[in-house]
């Protein structure tokens, strides 16, 4: 019983990582119905950048993180304005093709530069530290930190969306971009801002992905799959739903693995399919 409880707790913690990663996917889809297939590769790219900064100038990934986040946000804004905005329209296919291609470019550049060797970010002793709970359950400090960071980020983002002038403008643009222009909102700029947030949060996810498990240049697509499952399970376009979806996915993976080793990935996909069958709009209804 305590093994099962332990699996549930570990699953919730794992869900925090999925949710953190999926935040940007959820936001981009919610605001502009944009599907970024390179999202996973961007997380891995961020992890490699932090790896390089620690290998070349000895900068700890923790110190490199703010730089990568801010740089990532700037690149996200520029990419949206220069590239992704040109693909927006009734047809989602141009955006899917462009980001699919971008993902392949990133994967191959990483392969060229870093080879296929599996790497891991060194974030210090936090990786091995844990807190003991009654019943022989121990909670790793790093997974706990990831869940806390994911929750704080999602809550902060939700508060910004709900209560600020910028958030209102972003939600209005998501509802009806043409009418948003009428009240003086530059929709293209809003899309840029949404993608800046998406790239910034995925850089944070990159740090945690790279420190929790080992990674290689081709790790992005698997991550993307989990991220999409988290977004769809929770409900497209809903940030709370994304957190919940990540946790549902994480728990089903760890619990299945506890019952029978090796069943985790399949169980996660089955949970995703079950939600699609029973609640096609996700556990929480989306905003629109």
């Amino acid at each position: 019983m305590s093994d099962l409880l332990n699996a549930v707790i570990q699953g919730i913690l794992l869900g925090g990582l999925y949710a953190l990663f999926a935040t940007g996917l959820s936001l981009a889809f919610g605001v502009m119905r944009f599907v970024n297939l390179a999202h996973g590769d961007l997380a891995i790219l961020a992890a490699y950048l932090m790896l390089s900064s620690s290998a070349t100038i000895g900068m700890s990934p923790w110190l490199a993180l703010p730089i990568v986040v801010i740089g990532g946000a700037a690149v996200g804004y520029a990419t949206q304005r220069a590239l992704f905005n040109r693909t927006l329209g009734r047809d989602p296919m141009p955006g899917i093709l462009v980001t699919f291609g971008l993902g392949i470019v990133i994967q191959n550049l990483l392969l060229e530069r870093y080879s296929f060797t599996q790497q891991r970010l060194d974030v210090g002793s936090i990786v091995t530290e844990s807190i003991s709970l009654p019943g022989g359950i121990s909670v790793g400090l790093l997974p706990l930190l990831i869940l806390v960071v994911a929750t704080v980020l999602l809550v902060a983002l939700e508060l910004v969306l709900r209560f600020t002038r910028f958030g209102r403008a972003l939600r209005a643009t998501a509802d009806d971009a043409r009418t948003a222009q009428l009240v003086g909102i530059d929709d293209r700029r809003m899309y840029g801002a949404a993608m800046a947030i998406a790239f910034g949060t995925v850089a944070v996810a990159g740090l945690f992905v790279g420190s929790r498990t080992s990674f290689g240049p081709a790790a992005g697509p698997t991550l993307l799959l989990f991220g999409f499952e988290a977004v769809v399970i929770g409900g497209l376009g809903s940030l709370w739903g994304t957190l919940l979806g990540g946790i549902v996915l994480g728990v089903s993976q760890t619990v299945a693995n506890e019952l029978s080793i090796g069943w985790d990935l399949l169980a996660g996909h089955l949970a995703f399919l079950a939600v699609l069958l029973l609640r096609p709009n996700g556990i929480l209804q989306a905003r629109s």
Partner: protein, 235 residues
Amino acid sequence: MSHISIEGLNAGYGQFQALFDLDLEVLAGSRTAIIGANGAGKSTLLRSIVGQVDIRSGSIRIDGRDLGASRTHRRAGAGVALVPEGRHLFATLTVRDNLLVGAHTRRPGPWNLDAVLDTFPLIRPLVGRRADGLSGGEKQAVAIGRALMSNPNVLLLDEVSLGLAPVIVGDLYAAIADVADAGTTVVVVEQDIIQATAFADVVHCLLEGRVVLSGPPGELELDDIRNAYFGVAVS
């Protein structure tokens, strides 16, 4: 003084041309009504002024400044507000947020949340409700309120009365008249000739993308308006 000055406007959507060599002057502080049948180009004319229609040739000036290719959100910032046909509220936003987002341009002026709610008391109890749950009349009031929140110099209203009960239309037009009296230039597009002539001090009748009849409603014969409206030759 002329507030909106349109010269030789040819405009449309893609292959389809809706306006042909259209000239129109709207005086500052005036109440103008654009009338005409379905497809006459009334809505296209308003969408041209806010920059949401392809303009092939001709010019649109506001306060003497050519709008050129400036984008819609900049025109809103310059004080041009459109209440679009079909209201187009932000469906998932509350009434309060719909109104607050109307003030996005931060233009200074007399209009704020309280002033709008005073003008449209029917929406005061609804401020916390999502916009997609409102009735047609409530939505129209919020749509007008949202436009007022930007403290516009020019208020363009497209088909205010469409689909609404006469008593509500009367209330809305009374509020719009107050806005005009406070000095805002108001242009309404209206299919209801009686409503349009009662409100406006200048009426322009559009037929197939051209202005075919203009003048103060008092000087126009109702028969002439009807003929222009339906495309019968005007003597």
